[in-house]
Symmetry: D2
Subunit: 336 residues, 4 copies
């Protein structure tokens, strides 16, 4: 018996999840798709042979046949829809970030807890085969005690400047994935962050009050030291690499490429560039994320990414913001 | 409007194609699955929500709603079913090899031609992103005039000895893929083959009259020289590499791996082994093969692998067999 | 006509330079070797067929036939010998660091300036083919404007604890090479450092008041952000990698290995570990360093590493020390 | 006490060996250099501070102080000088090939045997760190029983056409190194060769009666099958790769490069081309070859490359020539 799901939000990520559920996750059945732009919901529903399309997300929450909802609407609606869905007894998958306001996040998490429903947050990179392999090897002790973590995460091109203006800033929009990855890989909490940054890609990003190039130092409770570097534009494509160094060895995850062909000619030895962006690189991680959400609900398995996992990276992002603005290391305990 | 397809054969490859059509190729609709083992057909049909399962392939050929058939039954039935399908006006996708008897192949191809239906042969590796990229670069002149071709193709483990006994021998069962690849990459016909071989994997294969380790030299009409090496067992997994060297450069396709993580420890620097076998390595090529077949039929596009492309590698296999047995180079023109 | 050189210090590095001069740099002639341990000087002189061995470095400075000296004695003697050598009109190659006391360094540099002799400091890594290539590509604009620098520099094993106690600490002993590399690669000065560190290798290092694992963030005057990570022990060998990311691309220098052979077996795909330590990795850079010193003197070419290049990394090391101790970013202008 | 050596031939390879002996092999002392072009001998002697230069190689053979000779003169003089040197009781290092005439080789080898002197042949690639590592791993059983050998050996550019005309053909001039490598790596004798070839680089080579692009199949006595591919021009540089596949694994030796830096830009991910030609690629192997020759003589160690190792590849070359000309596999036993 498959899990009956409603998808809220028919934008890029909502369509992606819906398509993955329809074509790649036989254990799920999509009953309805909602979007404030009703035409978008209808277009998607028709293409995927989903029976219902609606302009009101409440239609999904109120539908008694639906057991779980995917919240893929704009960030400012997440906490509200989480609370309503929880109240209606639906299990919830919610895209990151839950919210940029800590109080609203905590309020939403309490509603989830009270309702006893499951909530998974959309940190899809945890399901990437490279990074999952790194995590497994670290957890298996293959590199002994971890000591240094290095995350490189660079986008191929910056988002539209309109998006930058409302994104909550690079730390909450882009680095948040790396904050989650840092916690996931090391299995310990970060206690302090120090952020350095500047504008090297587009002055308009600076004019919007943000930076586009950052390096963040992380101190973990278990003594590990981490660094994250981000840039809004890497001309060679999506650069997603990770390194964990420990007392007994080192794990390095390289980029993925569209092919493994090398061309040697009179000028150079040429390899493929990395896969272009997250849709290409994380294709399989998005599918696996859905499979594990469905399995967590239907087989009562542990959630791979909990509500708390959605909360902490937001705290880290706010701490990084404060660090950059004040030019000093900031403890996570300073944020509340 | 999607193409209505019937699948003949619910063994490993038939199930794979059926599943790909159902889940990954929205432009097709699988109406029926047939297998002499009716239970196998029923199990597959039920799992994939295919409406009809049958123990008789004729039910598919006689079904007027079905526009195209996939022939995934045992090799000895291929040419017969091709002829019947063609006579019924169905478009045909047939697994390789068409047959091991040249006369039967030619008879079947004539039936196809007469009926005016489309026939695509299952050389799925042409759709592998690595090899397709090599072909595209060669065709684009990136390495100038090709001069040397090297194909390495080694299986992780030999098939059951019962299979070896009826497979037609390593050249027709295993090397046939490489013969096709050689023609595809170079875009010229092979005129002579020289095969050397021995038994290094399992004496039982030798006892069955076959070899398990071979090196074949190819002379192409355009002057290119090629070599293929095959072995029935590579302990490190499926080894599928290709190199084309030309007057202006060289293309090398490396193996694919399940992840791109390197572990450096006190002993070594360790990378992932190649993807285990063809189901893992050629996952995407099987999907793309189906997409292009469906597109060839519905949009009247050129077939990516024609009936003639099915015939020639069989001739090459027979020539290789003769070469090995007689210890001398054999021209393809000697085979008829 | 070759340059007549005296070598002061017949320890590991003194012997290395003497041997390189004798066997690999025909443009130099080693006339004498001095060491407080006279037997060590004699053993080295005999082996290399150097005419004179002495227990007094003054014998070298006072020798009118000697045109240039190599100062390879213990760090605490460097500034004194520089001053005496300069006063005697000798050109000077001095191992890093010049001193750990800024005033003494400045005093020595003034003596050099006054005497009008040449002084090159032993930052040999600038002559490593990998790093030199990175510098050349950066300088040629191949990656546009640099934005992020990442240096990984990990030793295979910590030095004896007795050495750690007198080394001046990890920043002045080990990171100092990376501080120099950072300036060399980016071609701009660092204005602020932030150092985080801990003891993960050996508690005895902590007991000696030092750390063995550090991550340092660098802010450059031109806006580049850099990070350096160091560890006193990488079980897989000497880990010396560098990455410079810029607006038009990224340069990554990988480790060097003793061979380029890959072994694929039933367990893994195995590559060689990095070259074990600096003697193996920087073999060629030590030779090239000597060649360029000799050429700078004999052909009056620009010095590849000046006295000022010896001073600034010490300032950076002192700033890093202060940063680690005070838990805050420290500007280089705070150090004097 | 070092070994006193005379060098016969001051061409490219003679100068290289002389320089290596002088600068890199302290256990040898070069007493004299001879060349029919006396000025060349003098220039070399002066540069390397070698006491004697002469236009007559007999001066070296007749010099009682000289214990060993290096024969680096033109191929047609090798066997004669070997015989005279042996008669004079000198140990001999002789460049490959000994001769292109089997009778003359055998005559020379008998003279060596009779005189009881040591004779090492200049197959320097055996001393290359990559290939030596492959050999050691094969010999240590790391890949179980070898089954397939693949050698790729391509020059960056063809030699002058005048050289091609007198070189004895590609098999005796170029492939001969690969024939030696095949025997060295597999540790078994080749019993049959099959050669295919053509002219793809320069029609003038064809006009001179030679080919410039060949693929050779080797059958070994122990059942291993090998292939060698050669081309006189690889536009990307000197391509020297080797693969040995066995029952328990596979060894692959990749090319060496001048640096390990990767440049990723908007167009591609670019690595260094292979080291340009044999002087760059085999720098260390030439030094090690001399060290082992000197050690074989002075410490009475086994010769790493014997006179018989010089003979067999010539037989293989003649067999390959016959195979190409007759279009059939040729057994080595057919050559005499």
């Amino acid at each position: 018996m498959s899990l009956r799901v409603g998808v809220i939000g028919a934008g890029r990520i909502g369509k992606l999840h819906a398509e993955n559920l329809v074509y790649r996750v036989p254990e799920a059945e999509v009953l309805a798709i909602a979007d404030v732009n009703k035409a978008a919901a209808e277009e998607c529903a028709q293409r995927l042979k989903v029976p219902t399309a609606t302009g009101r997300y409440q239609d999904i929450i109120e539908n008694p046949a639906i057991e779980a909802v995917l919240i893929c609407s704009s960030t400012d609606t997440h906490s509200q829809i989480i609370e309503e869905s929880a109240a209606a007894g639906k299990h919830i998958f919610c895209e990151k970030p839950i919210d940029s306001d800590l109080k609203r996040i905590e309020h939403a998490l309490k509603a989830v807890e009270k309702a006893g429903v499951k909530l998974q947050i959309g940190f899809n990179r945890r399901f990437d085969p490279n990074f999952r392999h790194v995590r497994e090897q670290v957890a298996a002790g293959k590199i002994g005690e971890p000591a240094i973590l290095r995350i490189t995460s660079r986008d191929p091109a910056p988002p539209p400047i309109e998006y930058v203006k409302v994104s909550g800033g690079i730390f909450l929009d882009m680095t948040i994935h790396d904050f989650d990855m840092a916690r996931y890989l090391i299995g310990s909490e970060v206690v302090e962050v120090y952020a350095v940054g500047g504008v090297t890609v587009d002055p308009a990003i600076g004019a919007a009050g943000d930076v586009d190039t950052v390096v963040i130092t992380l101190k973990f409770a278990n003594g590990v030291i981490g660094t994250i570097d981000n840039c809004r534009r890497a001309v060679y494509g999506y650069d997603q690499r990770i390194e964990v160094f420990g007392s007994a060895g080192c794990l390095v995850a390289a980029n993925n490429t569209p092919h493994n062909v090398t061309l040697s000619d009179g000028d150079a030895v040429i390899n493929a560039k990395p896969l272009y962006f997250f849709l290409e690189r994380y294709t399989e991680s998005f599918v696996e994320e859905m499979r594990q959400f469905i399995a967590a609900v239907t087989q009562n398995k542990p959630l791979p990414v909990t509500g708390r996992d959605g909360l902490i990276p937001v705290i880290m992002g706010l701490a990084a913001k404060k660090s950059l603005s004040e030019g000093r290391p900031v403890k996570l305990s300073e944020i509340s």
